[in-house]
Symmetry: C2
Amino acid sequence: MVAIGDELLNGRTRDANVYYLAGWLEERGVALQEVRFVADEEEAIVEAVNALRRRADIVFTSGGIGPTHDDITADAIGTAFGVPVAEREDSLAILEEWYAKKGEEVTDSRRRMARVPSGARLIANSISGAPGFAIENVYVMAGVPAIFEAMLAAADQEIQRGPTYTVYTVIGAGGESTIAEGLKAVESAIKGLKIGSYPGKSGTSGRLAIVCKAFDPALAVQGAKAVEGLFRAKGVDPETVEGFGPNLT
Amino acid sequence: MVAIGDELLNGRTRDANVYYLAGWLEERGVALQEVRFVADEEEAIVEAVNALRRRADIVFTSGGIGPTHDDITADAIGTAFGVPVAEREDSLAILEEWYAKKGEEVTDSRRRMARVPSGARLIANSISGAPGFAIENVYVMAGVPAIFEAMLAAADQEIQRGPTYTVYTVIGAGGESTIAEGLKAVESAIKGLKIGSYPGKSGTSGRLAIVCKAFDPALAVQGAKAVEGLFRAKGVDPETVEGFGPNLT
């Protein structure tokens, strides 16, 4: 994924789309490999998109496809693919219909949103009309979270699913180093099991969340039971929940 | 910045450190140029760190320096710089003192946290003891937000400050395209002024936040007044606040 926007880099906005996309892809059995945040600068966008589209099956971008002068993503994507960017009839028709329903006009700045790189497929936008687009394996979507999410839903049928993980989280008192030594042994012993260790606090005392995941549900259960055993050996009574469990702070 | 951790890419954890660092750097007049999120995999960490440390004055990393087997950041940084990673006496002494105060032992897994790349400077950790480290222009810090923030504070004196922006945000009713046409003209007319446009909603109606920033406070004020004029020309009564203003959702 490439998250585009000066506001993500200057402290104005806390990105929400990476987290949403990560969970959405996980549910579909697709691994998010890498994310880059870049400014609204053509060179930075082109470099990031070209680097990731060559190594990943799919690239998603967020941001920079609105009507204002700092929205340069469509042009940057055109540059990245070496194709022209021009207004398209079908995209303009969508804008005209959307604004006509609101009794508003397609101003020159709104009309900019009908410009897409040659060869792109449009992605429907049920929230604010102006479509996103996909070109080859790059999905170009809005940065406003509600619109990003709607466009992702619209593109869902094009996403090839993979096997999904079964996940259990075992939570217990103590710091990360309490059971660190046993975790490696458990992960080594159960082939196909992945373990993640996430320390945090509950009030003033340390809490630890251990995530056990595997494609085979039986292995995930087996891993969670082994981790429960590690906690109990330290005199801690753990709690196991399905899924990623709570984020400790 | 390089944010390291499988949990950021699989939907378990919503990163908080990028947003914190971005605002922290902005206050110090330092521009955050790019962020990459990578998994707990040596090759991915090495590639991202090496790419960014050559083009940026400073690189910050978060995550992967704890006591568990999936914490591989110190080794990856050693590989990135081509230097050995070994336990250091001063780092081990810090751990011993920290755990002695708590009446606990430095177990083998805790002891792993005393391993740092050759030539690194330690970064104090007032929250959980185990230090981060810096090597050349790369600052390697924990992923837990409270610890990340404490390490950033400890490294503060090494960060060279730049000129800071004065920022005003003008907020008014309407969608982004309402005044988009005027914004480009204002930005062109006032040299040194940067304008960002952030649409969102307030209840069910569209709201628009226009950020005006400049190194010269007078230009930021002049920009905000010009943007207020654009809103008023559309019959909208805008509100101006100092700083980045609220994030609309």
